[in-house]
């Protein structure tokens, strides 16, 4: 046993390159791939895939009599093989990554991993990298068959490359989505529901990928790659892919971080960065193309993300953890900046409110600066619609948080989003139902006044006749809700101070 103790203190020779590379590898990737190559399931899946592809090609070649005169045989066979490969990859890779992660979590295997010193980001990156390697492995196994279709005519190499790239994007995005779903801290029953939801997403992903791939193959990519439009499209797809992958990655990492950590920091930093970069790209695109469409797309995407963020913010812990408070900067300016980027209900609401207001401000300035370029009314309409929606959701969120703190104290803060959702449902339906009961037989009410009774509905902006009422009510409500929550919020702002390390308290012990 003394030898064992010495192991931890022995002097080490300088490692060789191979050893350094081995050390540099993510432990999760090493483990996942070791398990994958030893897994009968993986080997069987690969063999089944190859067998199906051989059989499919054979059947096609045997049943198609005039193949030597056909000019689209290669395209057809490629589409069949690609469809088979994509179906198996989209089923197998996300399942292998996501379901295993969920299972490991419920079987305490992952618990054991969490108590090592490995970083949560290494766990998620490792799972994702392993999924990418598996995808590459499957694609590589199928590549000889896919390449063979080139000799059957009707397909060019750029089309094959682009379609394979689309397939790769779909599979890896599906895998990352399932990894994210597996990280959600929910019970077994809810996990099954999430699994079913994930499966539906994968089916939708499969169908849309096949549709895009079919379109690409039939139109042919070879002639398009010299045009600017093609590369613009590639750029948009790549940006979207990068944004979604990044968002799912940071969300997954935040979900498996300890509750006491500053889980919000990477998510809010990432969203702020992407919001800024996306905003600059959208404004530039809008200016170059003389249309507000890119700005509409940008503000709509982020307003929806901020709507989800309102629900998340009110469900966060009331105060950041002590370790987070200990790491706060001394300088009040830096601390103010950190306030917006720190876990905590008040912090989350402040960041979300600021982002919604700034998004509206940017759009307002833009349509004022460029009133004569196309899609102005669409930009104004959609921005106001979504901002009013978020204003109402903000009111509901503040009301739910207030109710939970004062009258529903037994409910944990992590369930505040449920209270908020109930309030949204009640507020959207109840006024209209009351109006309906009172004025059911009044034709004037149906023609002119029923819109007034939709007043609690966050999605009501489309009813143009009563917009002033909706806006006035929303403004009045938000002022009232802020007033009710102001003391709580200010306490959190004042309490957001750097603290010193807690000492252990004396108490009677065994000794």
């Amino acid at each position: 046993m003394t030898a064992e103790a010495e192991l931890h203190h022995s002097t080490q020779p300088k490692p060789k390159f191979a050893e350094r590379f081995d050390d540099w590898l993510n432990p999760i990737v090493v483990k996942e791939l070791r398990q994958a190559v030893q897994s009968r399931f993986v080997i069987t899946a690969l063999l089944v895939l190859l067998a199906i592809q051989i059989v499919a090609v054979a059947i096609y070649l045997i049943t198609t009599s005039d193949i030597s005169f056909s000019y689209d045989a290669g395209r057809t066979v490629f589409m069949i093989l690609f469809g088979i490969m994509l179906a198996l990859s989209m089923l197998f890779v996300p399942l292998y990554s996501g379901v295993r992660l969920a299972a490991e979590r419920s079987e305490t295997n992952l618990d054991l991993l969490f108590i090592t010193t490995i970083k949560p980001r290494s766990i998620i990156f490792g799972k994702m990298l392993a999924a990418v390697v598996l995808t590459v492995m499957i694609f590589s196994a199928c590549l000889p068959f896919l390449t063979f279709t080139y000799f059957l005519r009707g397909i060019d190499l750029p089309s094959m490359a682009v379609v394979l790239a689309i397939g790769f994007v779909s599979v890896t995005l599906s895998a990352q989505t399932l990894i994210f779903l597996a990280c959600l801290p929910v019970g077994r029953a809810f996990k099954f529901m999430l699994g079913a939801f994930g499966f539906i997403l994968m089916v939708i992903g499969y169908v849309s990928t096949m549709a895009s791939a079919g379109g690409m193959l039939w139109e042919g990519v070879g002639s398009k790659i010299v045009g600017m439009d093609f590369w613009q499209w590639v750029g948009i797809i790549t940006m979207n892919y990068g944004f979604q992958m990044g968002l799912l990655l940071v969300l997954s990492i935040a979900l498996i971080k300890p509750v006491s950590a500053n889980r919000a920091l990477p998510v809010r930093l990432y969203l702020t960065a992407i919001w800024s970069l996306g905003g600059i790209a959208a404004l530039l695109g809008s200016w170059i193309e003389a249309t507000h469409d890119p700005v509409i797309y940008w503000q709509a995407s982020f307003n929806i993300i901020f709507a989800a963020s309102i629900f998340t913010a009110i469900s966060e812990r009331d105060w950041p953890g002590a370790s987070v408070m200990r790491s706060l900067p001394e300088s009040s300016g830096k601390r103010l900046l950190r306030f917006f980027l720190t876990s905590g209900s008040a912090n989350g609401l402040a960041w979300t409110g600021l982002m919604i207001a700034t998004t509206y401000g940017v759009c307002w300035i833009w349509w004022r600066l460029f009133p004569n370029i196309s899609s102005l009314s669409e930009l104004v309409g959609s921005t106001r619609w979504l901002t009013v929606m978020n204003l109402y959701l903000f009111c509901y969120a503040l009301t739910a948080a207030f109710l939970r703190r004062h009258w529903l104290k037994r409910i944990s803060s992590k369930w505040t989003w449920v209270i908020c959702l109930l309030l949204v449902s009640l507020g959207s339906i109840a006024p209209f139902l009351i109006g309906l009961l009172v004025y059911m037989n009044d034709s004037d009410w149906w023609r002119e006044d029923y819109g007034r009774w939709l007043i609690g509905n966050p999605f009501v902006w489309d009813v143009a006749a009563h917009r002033e009422l909706y806006l006035s009510f929303g403004t009045f409500w938000v002022v009232l809700a802020i007033a009710f929550n102001l003391q709580w919020f200010l306490e959190r702002v004042r309490g957001f101070q750097r603290i010193e390390r807690m000492g252990s308290q004396p108490f009677s012990d065994l000794e």
Partner: protein, 309 residues
């Protein structure tokens, strides 16, 4: 190095799994964590291992809060859970190598550490076997080996002896003795109380989330039982002594089996000493006067009520 648990509380809805639990222990000590099923042992241990957050209270390892600084505390704790590893398609060596990587061990040091731990836990012979093919005892060794990889000063072991055969239990006991000798602070829960008493320096008895008794084993044994069983053998006059004992107010019961008398003395060690003095004073030629020590099992049965939440 000291492990301190202070006013720890963990509620699951209205259920108080851990209710104001405080205790501490130090390097080199093995502390038994004893209680019926559902007493709150695993919950407390999971909090100490940084896997759960308490509703209130604190727990420190060497002054580091496991709640507020779990990342630092993880370097200090090795956790052996009650469930065993279920990873498929991975060998013992690969499993340990993976965790060594996860603990940040690199290059030659990682290889040497994994080899050393395999040797220490007697796993070298089965290092290439798949985890799923191992027996429960072997899996338990793998779990212990994994917990030792980063040489933690504190070990938290939840039911490590459950389901082990007698030989494996003895081997585990010896391992714990060695680890304790190395200065590790060990908190171990088990239902096999006789074995715990042999290796533990102290014990914490918990039921319904509350600590019923805590202290050194010797103190617990002497303080917990309000009566003592004394075996008495005298030269001649055995039956006379039996009758006399039955009439003494400090004797609750006395049984004579033809060779010796087993007397139940109410009170603590003082009462026993007084009884011996009285016997000598009355002219009995005492050749044997032996107090039968209560064991941990007896204490456990005396102080717990078997309440399950």
């Amino acid at each position: 190095m000291k492990v301190e648990v202070s006013n720890l509380k963990k509620y699951f809805g209205s259920t108080r799994a851990v209710d104001d639990v405080s205790f501490s222990f130090a390097s080199g000590q093995v502390v038994g964590f004893v209680g019926p099923n559902g007493a709150g042992k695993t919950t407390t241990m999971r909090i100490l291992a940084t896997l759960d957050e308490p509703t209130a209270g604190q727990a420190f390892i060497d002054g580091v809060s496991v709640i507020e600084e779990p990342e630092i505390a993880r370097n200090l704790v090795g956790y052996v859970p009650d469930s065993l590893p279920t990873h498929r398609d991975i060998s013992v060596h690969e499993y340990l190598d993976f965790f060594a990587r996860a603990y940040g061990l690199k290059g030659v040091k990682r290889r040497q550490t994994v080899d050393g731990i395999e040797e220490f836990t007697n796993l070298s012979g089965i290092r290439d076997k798949m985890l799923v093919t191992l027996s429960k005892g072997m899996k338990q060794r793998v779990t212990l080996a994994r917990a030792l990889l980063h040489d933690p000063p504190v070990l938290i072991m939840d039911e490590p002896a459950a389901g082990l055969d007698p030989r494996a239990r003895i081997e585990l006991r010896e391992l714990l003795r060695v680890l304790s000798g190395q200065g590790k602070a060990i908190l171990i829960s088990s239902h096999i109380l006789t074995e715990l008493a042999e290796i533990c320096h102290g014990a914490v008895i918990i039921e319904h989330g509350k600590i019923l008794m805590a202290g050194g084993i010797a103190d617990l044994l002497s303080d917990s039982v309000p009566r003592r069983t004394v075996l008495i053998r005298v030269l001649g006059r055995q039956e006379e002594l039996h009758r006399e004992l039955l009439q003494m107010p400090s004797i609750e019961a006395a049984r004579f089996n033809g060779e010796e008398i087993a007397a139940e003395v109410s009170g603590t060690d003082d009462a026993c000493a007084e009884l011996l003095a009285a016997l000598v004073a009355r002219g009995y030629r005492v050749v044997e006067f032996k107090q039968q020590r209560a064991n941990l099992e007896e204490i456990f049965m005396n102080v717990t009520k078997g309440v399950v939440q």
